[in-house]
Amino acid sequence: MGNDYIAFHGDLKGLLEKVETGEMIPKFQASHAPMGKFMTAFFVLNGIRHCVPLVHAPTGCTLQMSEWVRRMDCCERRGVPLEPVPCTIFDESDVIYGGEGKLLETVLEADKKYHPDLIVILSCCTAGIIGDNVEMIAQEAEKSVNARVLAIKSEGFGGDFRSGYEDAFKLIMELMEPPQEKRKGTINILGARVGPTATEISEDLKEIERLLDEAGIKINAEVAGGCTLEEIRRAREAELNVSWCYDWGQKLGDLMKDRFGMPYSRTGLPYGLKATEEWLLGVARPLNIEKEALEVIRREKEKVLPELSYLERALKGKTAIVEPSTVFNGPIRGLAMARMVEEFGAHPIVLNIHPYTIKERMPSIKYLLETGLNPEVILTPGVFRLGSYSMQSETEEELERIVQGYDNVIYFGSSDRYPDCPVVNLGLISRFPRFGFRGIQNIAKLVETALKDTSRPRSKLFKEMIYG
């Protein structure tokens, strides 16, 4: 294979090393613009019910956020209402004289208007530059309103993708009260984000809830996946913390472990049989209900035996090219998918995970490497071109050339790609569980469809007509 369309070819560990040394990170961030601190903090807080994120900024920050979320993510696509997002509408005189008085008034108004349980002030760049003391205003405001009032210094220059949600989780921890009792067999699920600003799909959570319920495990709170302030207050009464999205959730798990001594079960995403077993047993063992969990696994496994057998027959000996960026927000689910296909006998190659996403999720990537997941990785030059990298025509052409270099290939990604091999359209599964045993059934169905439809003609011309 020539290398004019290969920018990196190695394994995940090798890529991580190049990211850590800065070798694979472009100096100017033209090819990938990750969410900033304000946005990721906002995403976490939006998962708390009856919480008002109050933006201390000019109107643009709020409008951009609420409009983006409203149009792209919740109301118009999924029918989930967006909670009110008040804004201080910072103007020129606030920049000169300070916006603290206005912020105090806005908190009082938001409390009077919406009667929330919690108000969280999120400061943006302007407020950060002039040095408004948002934490002091939160303390002052709390004396005059019924809601709890807290603040995060979330100005864009003050941190990155990771720091936003880490600070939000730290703030959530401040709301947790000393336990009145320990509730046996009860857990918190950390890292879930289902609600107006979901980055996961609720169907995955339902599958987890179903398996936990079968094993007799109760959930106190899903933080921050639609949990209430009361559930957060009582979070320390749970016996165990469990990761769901361990990329976002692990910080909170680690912090609660360090500060409150709460045990924390951290495993990979439950894609496929092995990972699902590990996930469920990782919860059950610390709760001393391993026997019950094993019985659930036995029963569920029996139900999916045809799919397990099919996946082994279908994938054994194949090269599976997994391209996470076409269907997932980050690299973690793609890597979980790679592990799943490997379990069924395929050789996974993960294509085009942007080095920035490796940088953003460094602790999670290191954890995955510790668990032994270290798939082959290929990055193409198209990834680094200007603009959004996920659907560039350059990367599509490169994919087609890469596929030609292997025998017996199967592609896992979006149906928008046209490689000369069976295409497992992961986009079709977006409203169905991918986790757990039902996920195995669904993914088996997608693989079956891809292999059956290999000879079906597809039209690039129509793709161009529709998407340009």
Partner: protein, 131 residues
């Protein structure tokens, strides 16, 4: 939680028909129009372009083509030619119009007969307070 909500159903759905928007020009400017068609637009699809799409539709297994707009009857000769081309490829042809041209029985016949001769099988009319 029902099985139908957690498991993917039948995925064996093939492309059945292709809809071509021949123009965004229309006699009306309905607020609900999904193509935002209007009286000011004048941008018909080229016949050669339409023929390319019809051939591609046939190649990927479509059985029917739906000629839509805007108002496809604005470009009647183009409509006739596309119907003829589609029919020659063995595609069933349907069109939709708001029937602005059907001001009398005579004018309606003058439009519909040639279309039928070229092979149009179905026609649907938009008949509502907007049209």
């Amino acid at each position: 939680m029902g099985e139908e909500k957690t498991l993917i159903g039948n995925l064996n759905q093939k492309l059945q028909w292709v809809c071509l928007l021949l123009t965004y020009r229309c006699t009306s400017e309905c607020s609900h129009c999904f193509t935002s068609s209007s009286t000011h637009k004048d941008d018909p699809m080229k016949l050669s372009e339409a023929q390319e799409y019809l051939e591609e539709a046939k190649r990927v297994g479509a059985r029917r083509v739906w000629l839509f707009g805007g108002e496809p009857f604005f470009y009647f000769d183009l409509l006739l030619s596309i119907v003829e081309s589609a029919k020659q490829l063995g595609l069933e042809v349907t069109t939709t119009s708001n029937a602005f041209w059907a001001t009398s029985e005579e004018s309606a016949v003058r439009r519909l007969c040639p279309l039928k001769e070229k092979g149009l099988e179905y026609i649907s009319f938009s008949a509502d307070p907007f049209h």
